[in-house]
């Protein structure tokens, strides 16, 4: 376990050093992505101004929503960005090189790549959550809820992505299937959470867990409800276990292309 962790940290460090080599491009990607995300705040803030408060959701909650979504997306793509490459690796047969590694398979592939712009998402997420806490005049308890919510959102984001990437082993053109589900997953993480009611809320909580990434952590912080936070934790644990099970189940179906290649 310790060996795996130190390998993961080493791999992530190397990814950072690699990306930071082109200093200007590295910084521009981070700043550019953070600014780019402001668009969603503008959209939903104008929405709240025009429509009014929908199911208790104010402008402050929009900051919370964007904070949780961006932070979880940022952490996932920065630290575990390699998961994103699974469909491509499976389709091209380059998955062999990960299987031949003596390290833990998930750790090996997850830490094999990173997205520089995702650091911008992370920075944006932290700023949004800090503003959110300031806007709701949050105390220590809310801070604990925000940190817990961010961890849960990150776990759900990473594990659901691992889960859909595991479907790559079942299809001959995995990119289309994975990208399609990814699209369904990502869209609601950026939409006004208060407008998800009825069957739409059930669908995007239990079938496709988009609301676990943004809207539901915001509502848990607002109500300071341990019950809600506990439920989110349970669902995150469910996705964690199911994604690891699905991944190893899928790997058994993988047919080698004898394309071992070198490098990361």
């Amino acid at each position: 376990m310790r060996n795996e962790l130190s390998f993961a940290l080493y791999s992530i460090k190397k990814n950072f050093q690699n990306s930071a080599e082109l200093r200007t491009s590295f910084l521009m990607n981070i700043v550019g992505m953070a600014l780019n995300n402001v668009a969603f705040i503008v959209i939903w803030a104008c929405f709240v101004k025009a429509v009014g408060i929908v199911n208790g959701w104010t402008v402050a909650d929009i900051y919370g929503l964007m904070g949780f979504s961006a932070l979880s997306f940022g952490v996932f793509h920065t630290l575990l960005g390699g998961i994103h490459l699974i469909p491509d690796a499976v389709a091209k047969g380059s998955f062999d090189r990960f299987m031949l590694s003596p390290k833990n398979l998930i750790v090996r592939i997850a830490t094999s790549a990173m997205s520089v712009s995702a650091i911008g998402d992370f920075v944006f997420g932290v700023i949004c959550l800090w503003l959110y806490l300031a806007m709701i005049h949050g105390g220590l308890l809310q801070l604990v809820f925000v940190i817990s919510g961010a961890i849960i959102a990150t776990v759900v984001m990473s594990t659901f992505w691992l889960f859909i990437s595991s479907l790559s082993f079942l299809f001959s053109d995995p990119k289309v299937v994975v990208d399609g589900i990814e699209s369904f997953f990502m869209a609601p993480t950026l939409f006004h959470g208060g407008a998800f009611q009825g069957w739409l809320r059930v669908f995007f909580t239990f079938i496709i867990p988009s609301l676990l990434v943004g809207a539901l952590p915001v509502e848990a912080v607002k109500s300071v409800s341990l019950w809600q936070l506990g439920l989110l934790l349970l669902l995150a644990l469910f996705w964690f276990l199911i994604s690891i099970w699905a991944f190893y189940k899928g790997v058994r179906r993988y047919e080698s292309a004898n394309l071992t290649t070198f490098g990361s």
């Binding site: 503008v42 104008c46 712009s117 369904f184 407008a195």
Partner: protein
């Protein structure tokens, strides 16, 4: 005439090519359902909560406005920036410069051809679904709307090509122009009324949406509103003026960019 023939050939070849990869079409359908479909479901709920009208606008008008944005987006003209950038980074641009056709014209037609199948399949089917589910608002059920639709569509396509072309050509000067391209793209997304209908815009944003090239690239989203009948010619004039301005900027930028290219051979 020769360029038009070349364009038709590129588009028809890419159409045939797209038919061989139905997965891409499927992906575009899913994207349309997830981004536009979910968004419209949310707005329907919000309008129901507010008694059917918000800021004097009904749900069907807002839904058609946002739908037109997403339907036109299936043409994927915004990918032109990425295509030109990739050509520059990969060095493919050198090879294309040697062809006896203008690089920009070639890439314009290529981009149109790339998204044509998705547009031709998704747009008509989703229009039928929208008509069946929501009907047609009175503002759209008239000859004036139908007559101005092709003019606005052509203008939107041309302005999109000029706009995204400029941000693609930037790649000749910068190692990684992606961050600038993201921000420009988000300006279009916000001001063209994708997730927030134009009717909900605050005053400054409304003015920007009408008179800036960001809103002009997808002027279609302004057509279902009652103001279209009175403002159509003014908005179309502004749109075509932007096509002229951005077209000139693109040509000048491309000429300068061409001088910067050093052919490595090989």
């Amino acid at each position: 005439m020769r360029e038009l023939r070349l364009g038709c050939k590129i588009v028809s070849t890419l159409l045939k090519n797209s038919l061989q990869y139905p997965g891409r079409l499927l992906l575009d359908i899913v994207a349309m359902l997830s981004w536009c479909g979910v968004c419209l479901l949310l707005y329907r709920y919000v309008f129901t909560l507010n008694g059917g009208t918000i800021k004097g606008t009904t749900f069907d008008v807002v839904a058609w406005s946002m739908f037109l944005y997403f339907a036109f987006s299936t043409l994927r003209l915004r990918s032109l920036t990425k295509t030109i950038t990739q050509d520059v980074i990969s060095g493919n641009v050198e090879m294309l410069f040697n062809k006896p056709v203008s690089y920009l014209v070639y890439r314009f037609w290529w981009q149109i051809g790339e998204g044509m199948l998705s547009f031709l399949v998704i747009a008509p089917i989703s229009v039928l679904v929208m008509v069946a589910l929501l009907g047609v608002p009175t503002t759209m059920a008239n000859w004036f709307f139908l007559a101005t639709l092709p003019i606005a569509m052509l203008g939107s396509a041309l302005l999109s090509l000029m706009f995204y072309g400029i941000f693609g050509v930037i790649a000749f000067w910068m190692t990684d122009p992606a961050p600038i391209q993201w921000i420009a793209d988000k300006f279009v997304m916000v001001l063209a009324g994708s997730y927030l209908p134009v009717a909900f815009f605050p005053k400054i944003m409304y003015v920007l949406a009408r008179f800036s090239p960001f809103g002009g690239t997808l002027i279609l989203s302004q057509m279902p509103y009652t103001t279209w009948k009175t403002d159509a010619w003014m908005l179309l004039s502004v749109q075509y003026l932007w096509i002229l301005i951005l077209g000139t900027v693109l040509v000048v930028m491309f000429r300068i960019a061409k001088q910067r290219v050093s052919i490595n051979g090989g």
